[in-house]
């Protein structure tokens, strides 16, 4: 049982980056919100903790109601509130993610990156890059062949293991809409991640329409790798010696390589080869 019901509110229990997250849904449409959360966050659901809340966890209050006035009152009280389910889901995904990242800032290296893993060996390829580099598209496209670990937040331990974060994928469904659809990984046909992925390769994404038809990999020296990767690391200065930690990761993965490519599908053989070499 992952959803508790009490006093007209519904509670959904998640794990995000290893952080216990409780979303308390309230309002006249709380049941609808809780069900949508359970669908979209299917691979991050956990059983409810027995008895008490986790002191190291995160609690998020969310309010879905058809009454505008009730929504305004909830917002004034600091609750994430709305009258539109899709809009609320759109807000909750980054909120859960940022709250979890904040909780893990002192214990994990967290990087804007898509991560895919070999379903058998757990060999994981990290595909890093800024917004617009194609991370979610890569997760959506290659995650059908390889295990979907995360689409935008690689959480890497000092032993270079990856904490899986198979969150909903935020997809633009209409150019006119300012709300992204929060798609459940299984609804896109993605494969579940290996239970214990470990980094075997780190790539920096360079998606260009004029890239060669076959992707090219160019080695990046460590000093310049830091210039590319550090802007993609959350809370980069929150742990001792962050630059040297990143270099340690990159060295263990055979050095950072910049991959120039056109379409996500073009990278499938590249990613498959790197996984095979690292298995």
């Amino acid at each position: 049982m992952r959803q508790d019901i009490s006093g007209g509110s519904h509670t959904v229990h998640l794990t995000a980056l290893g952080v216990p997250v409780v979303v308390r849904a309230s309002g006249s449409r709380s049941s609808e919100l809780a069900q949508a959360l359970e669908v979209a966050w299917e691979w991050c659901l956990t059983d409810s903790p027995a008895g008490h809340s986790d002191p190291d966890g995160v609690v998020i209050e969310a309010f879905l109601d058809k009454d505008d006035e009730a929504v305004c009152t909830a917002r004034a009280a600091g609750v994430v509130a709305g009258t539109c389910l899709e809009e609320l889901m759109h807000w909750l995904t980054p909120l859960v993610t940022t709250r979890a990242i904040t909780m893990r800032a002192s214990s994990l290296l967290m990087m804007h990156a898509c991560v895919l893993s070999d379903p058998v060996s757990g060999a994981a390829v990290v595909l890093a890059g800024p917004s617009g580099a194609g991370k979610t598209t890569l997760a959506r496209t290659l995650g059908r062949s390889f295990g979907y670990v995360t689409d935008e937040c690689a959480a890497i331990r000092d032993d270079h293991g990856v904490v899986p974060f198979p969150k909903p994928l935020s997809l633009i469904t209409s150019a006119a809409s300012r709300v992204k659809d929060q798609a459940a990984p299984s609804s896109l046909g993605l494969a579940a991640p290996h239970h214990s992925p470990r980094v075997v390769s780190v790539l920096y994404l360079d998606r260009r329409a004029d890239a060669p038809s076959s992707p090219t990999l160019a080695p990046v020296r460590n000093v310049h790798a830091l210039g590319l990767l550090c802007p993609q690391v959350s809370f980069v200065g929150s742990r001792p010696r962050p630059l040297n930690r990143i270099v340690s990761l990159v060295d263990a993965a055979g050095g950072l390589r910049q991959v120039s490519y056109r379409e996500a599908a073009d990278l499938e053989p590249v990613v498959g080869k790197l996984m095979a070499e690292g298995s």
Binding site: R221, N222, V223, H224, L226, G227, C230, P231, V236, G237, R241, P242, L243, N244, V247
Partner: protein, 97 residues
């Protein structure tokens, strides 16, 4: 003019170049900038001393090059990037860092 380094959260050097983390900014530095920072170390150092280190590291500049002036310009660039600060006693009156 005398300068000193601001505290770096971390630094990494390889092949003569380096990367430094100041606040939440990482800066990738050329061999020249890396040598200037190494010359300064943890001390407050005059630009003349930095110029001497650069000459030793990279050789004498081409004829007609104003070494002290070129060094001062490079140091000022690192000041502008927030990696160095001018010693308080060398600031002109009314100048804020």
């Amino acid at each position: 003019m005398r300068v000193r380094r601001v505290p770096f959260l971390d630094e990494y050097a390889e092949g003569g170049e380096s990367a430094v983390l100041v606040g939440d900014r990482v800066l990738v530095l050329s061999e020249l900038a890396t040598t200037i920072l190494a010359a300064i170390g943890d001390e407050t150092v005059s630009v003349d001393v930095v110029a001497a280190v650069l000459e030793e590291a990279f050789g004498a500049p081409p004829d007609g090059t104003d070494l002290p002036g070129a060094t001062a310009a490079a140091v000022q660039e690192l000041v502008a990037q927030g990696l160095l600060e001018i010693a308080a006693s060398d600031l002109e009156p009314g100048t804020a860092q």
